[in-house]
């Protein structure tokens, strides 16, 4: 079963992260790299991706004539997706265990765990 592990944070949280020393950030990244490597070796790794800064985010809506309408204004409470991991594991508990490791490596940040929609569920 495929699960996605989502790491999110506010713009203020991201600024706080950048205020850390380069050494701290490198140490954090090193642990995440090690987790990725372990997931690859155990055959559970599907994909991972980090996203750009919240200040680069835009919200787009379609208009009647098809012209995109963009807006980059968000409430302070807005939780931005910072990055994700997709894992293929036998059960939810294993997905939670991996999320727990990522959380432990990342100042105990909460990691949201979701299953993927199955083809049947989306085409009913």
């Amino acid at each position: 079963m495929k699960y996605i592990l989502l790491m999110s944070g506010t713009a203020a949280g991201v600024e706080g992260y950048h205020a850390r020393s380069t050494h701290d950030i490198e140490a954090h990244m090193a642990v995440l790299h090690r987790i990725n490597k372990e997931l690859s070796e155990s055959g559970e790794f599907v994909a991972t991706q980090g996203l750009a800064e919240p200040r680069e985010a835009k919200v787009v809506r379609g208009e009647k004539n098809g012209v995109p309408v963009t807006d980059g204004i968000f409430p302070e409470s807005k939780e931005f997706l910072l990055g994700y991991w997709i894992v293929d594991v036998p059960n939810a508990e294993r997905a939670y265990a991996i999320a727990g490791r990522i959380s432990a490596a990342s100042s105990n940040m909460p990691i949201e765990v979701r299953q993927f929609a199955s083809y049947e569920a989306t085409s009913r």
Binding site: L6, A57, V59, I111, Q115, A117, A121
Partner: protein
């Protein structure tokens, strides 16, 4: 440049989707399939995924001994990721144009749902963080 287009909604939005008629759901799924095919045909498609319902979402933190502590309680204002597309395009404007098309996917009563789509560049490596 790679961009991610994210569709999100509150739990109340998802409750609304669950009440769509079968025809409306089928029209939406048909649109999404045609949309993904167009992205593939034009060579900008990287990946797409749809996520399970918010009722299945858990928040995980590490406990004292690193064991996972799960919680499934979210504030009503919580925005859940419904699904995403990653595309590889020449400019942000092209990404916004594609996002606007996704926003026009048909919803209840075959009317465009006009859902907001969040667009962000994705990092090609940690070097993008300035490390």
């Amino acid at each position: 440049m790679k961009y991610i287009l994210m569709m999100t909604g509150k739990k109340s939005d998802f409750d609304g989707y669950a009440k769509w008629s079968k025809e409306d759901l089928q029209a939406n799924v048909a649109f999404m399939r045609a949309f993904s095919k167009e992205l593939k045909d034009s060579g900008v498609f990287v990946s797409t995924e749809g996520l399970g319902w918010p009722s299945q979402a858990k928040l995980v933190r590490a406990g004292k001994d690193g064991e996972p502590v799960t919680d499934g309680v979210f504030p009503e204002s919580k925005e859940f990721l419904a699904g995403y597309w990653i595309i590889d395009v020449e400019s942000p404007e092209q990404a916004y144009k594609i996002a606007a098309r996704a926003s026009q996917a048909p919803g209840a009563g075959a009317k465009s749902a006009n859902m907001p789509i969040e667009v962000r560049p994705v990092l090609s490596s940690h070097a993008d963080l300035g490390l």
